[in-house]
Amino acid sequence: MMIMKHIKPFLALAWAGLLLLTLLAAPLTVAADTDVDSGQPTYDRGYYSRFKGKELEINVYNWGEYLSIGEDGLMDINGEFEKLTGIKVNYSNFETNEGMYAKMKSGANAYDVIFPSDYMVSRLIQEKMVQPLDFDNIPNFKYIGEEFRNPEYDPDNLYSVPYMWGRVCLIYNEKLVGHKIESIDELWNPEYSGKILMFKNSRDAFALALEKLGYSLNTENVKELEQAAQLLKEQKPLIQAYVMDQIFDKMQANEAIIAPYYIGDYYIMKEVNPDLSVYIPENTNIYYDAVCIPSDSRHKEAAEMYINFLNEPQAAADNAEYIMYSSPNTAAVALLDPEISGDKNLYPPVEELVNTQAFINLSEDTNLYIDRLWTDVLSQDEGYLDWVMPAFVVFSVAVLLINSIRKRRKRELNNGGLKNDR
């Protein structure tokens, strides 16, 4: 990196100058170009070495398997960030938005960087659990595509930087189905009975039923929700299993024929099982996972540096390739293999997204009501429940009775064995 050595003093000067002049939101355009000689990404060392030797640590809380960790020749994002900045990354994982929310709410741990989905971002903003970002510290925000700025869940774009996005799709085995699928109704088709998979989480499952009914995915109308629940109950006998990660195995091994999941994951399945095809409904759910900084973060600037690093073109590109979800980072998309970035399912033209529906945060009452309906759906016609419980009670009572009778007999034998005539 001979070039860097010469540039560094100038960079430092430039940085100092910027600070002095305090030019509003002047992003550093010197950074993040790829070094032509080595193909290695170059970083703005002046910016990234500010905390060197300070022994800082940040706690990052992310979805499982949602960050490139240096496999398949892709970048080890946390490792690279630690090398570059000297900031130690403590990395831990959550499994659902609600799990993450509960953990934050409990006050057990203070995190510095979290990855909530769209509706959870608005909930966290409402409850003042995330803090406004200083975009001067996130110059790479300039790479975020226009259509991903000021999203519905963060209208003034103060609290979040988009991380990944995608749509819910129907993944199906074209070879076994025998034709193209072009309707969401196929999830209710008795022909595929026992071969249909369904989301295990209430919000995603209800979204599909509401979509079939033509209602808004964010409806708070009790009647509409009950209708959706009724649909899900009707669907239940046809369902092989309510699953999340097992969808991969079941679809790859031809155990199931049709399943709703996230479009990025379809490509991971298709790599193993080329018989798979996909259908994306026009008014399907579109989701955005964002990056935020919780209010109780103690290293806000280091956290902003981390968010900035996630948006370095090469880092974001490797991340998008590892996860296979769509990146909102335009520079990263440009670096991707054309086969990926040219894919209409992953990177559709804007007009194709007009009718998609994003989740917004529902009221507490609605959330609870959906959960209750969902429990109701899942416990529907579990036939054995009707007789197992009474049988169990009868059995227990019988055991207790027999025991007490035996005990009494014993006592009688001991006390007055002579009285008993055999």
Binding site: E57, N59, Y61, W63, G64, E65, Y66, I69, G70, E71, D76, N78, G79, N90, Y91, S92, N93, F94, E95, T96, S106, G107, A108, N109, A110, Y111, M244, D245, F248, D249, Q252, A253, D265, I268, E271, V272, N273, I323
Partner: protein, 279 residues
């Protein structure tokens, strides 16, 4: 052994070990899926390069070993105390002992979390910065491990011939010496069994760890659970294979040692019967 009892044992063992065998086979599978396409050891290589999994493994092992050692010491002491109690008090304390076993794990986990959060707030008012992490995880694990130690050691204490301890005291031991010279050897198998059980439960635990884990380190179970939105990576299969082999090796070792000790004891007995110590 009749043929049908052999068959029964065969079926039973297959029922127990087939799933593990399947897992081991797939940890050598070339692709990420349930169709075997080719043999590879790349998952094992990747596993050792995967800092996150390695850190989780380290956390899991440290928590399991530290909590089990502490729980073994505390539980053994508690068992000796229980043995000396009068019947009524013993019954009451035993009922308390059963609580962590009978209680649904989720309740144990949530209660721990609430307890530690409260402690954190109190300590913060005094100016002590207490964070969730090693301490919370290990404390929680010690708590649910202690009952297993007590339940393993108590029967051994009941079998213990008290006159041996009294003889040791007669010959000039103080109670502590008597414990280390006599009692500990007599109850050793119970202590070891309890310790191994505690390690197993601690390694296996997800629910309690989920609620008491800190931001710096997570246990393997928490990490694997978080993978369920995307997919559980085959490296985890590879790791499970390694853990299975390690556990098997430990069990074989423990059994061999026990055998050897028994042999030694028998030989000692014979010698003693045959006329004392040889010059």
């Amino acid at each position: 052994m009749k043929w049908y009892s052999k068959t029964y044992i065969g079926v039973f063992l297959a029922f127990l070990y087939l799933p593990i065998m399947v897992l081991i086979v797939f940890s050598f599978n070339d692709t990420k899926g349930r169709t075997f396409t080719g043999f590879t050891t790349k998952w094992f290589v990747q596993l050792f390069h995967n800092a996150a999994v390695m850190d989780a493994l380290m956390t899991t092992l440290v928590v399991a070993l530290v909590s089990s050692v502490i729980a073994t010491v505390m539980g053994t002491a508690a068992a000796i105390g229980l043995e000396k109690m009068d019947a009524k008090l013993k019954g009451a304390v035993m009922n308390l002992t059963y609580i962590p076993i009978i209680n649904p794990e989720i309740i144990t986990g949530v209660s721990f979390m609430l307890l530690f959060v409260t402690a954190k707030k109190w300590l913060a008012t005094v100016g002590i910065n207490f964070q969730f992490g090693w301490a919370t995880l290990i404390l929680a694990h010690i708590t649910f491990n202690i009952p297993y130690i007590i339940l393993n050691v108590l029967p051994k204490l009941r079998q213990l011939d008290q006159s041996l301890v009294e003889a040791a005291m007669d010959l000039g031991c103080n109670p502590i010496q008597a414990f280390f010279k006599v009692t500990i050897h007599e109850i050793r198998s119970g202590v070891v069994a309890g310790f191994l059980m505690a390690v197993t439960f601690s390694l296996d635990d997800f629910v309690v760890s989920y609620f008491t884990t800190g931001a710096k380190h997570q246990t393997l179970s928490v990490m694997i659970y978080a993978m369920t939105k995307k997919r559980v990576s085959p490296e985890i299969n590879a790791l499970s294979t390694l853990i299975f082999i390690a556990v098997l090796a430990i069990l074989v070792l423990v059994n061999l040692l026990e055998r050897r000790n028994e042999k030694k004891l028998k030989q000692g007995m014979l010698k003693w019967k045959g006329g004392g110590v040889k010059e």
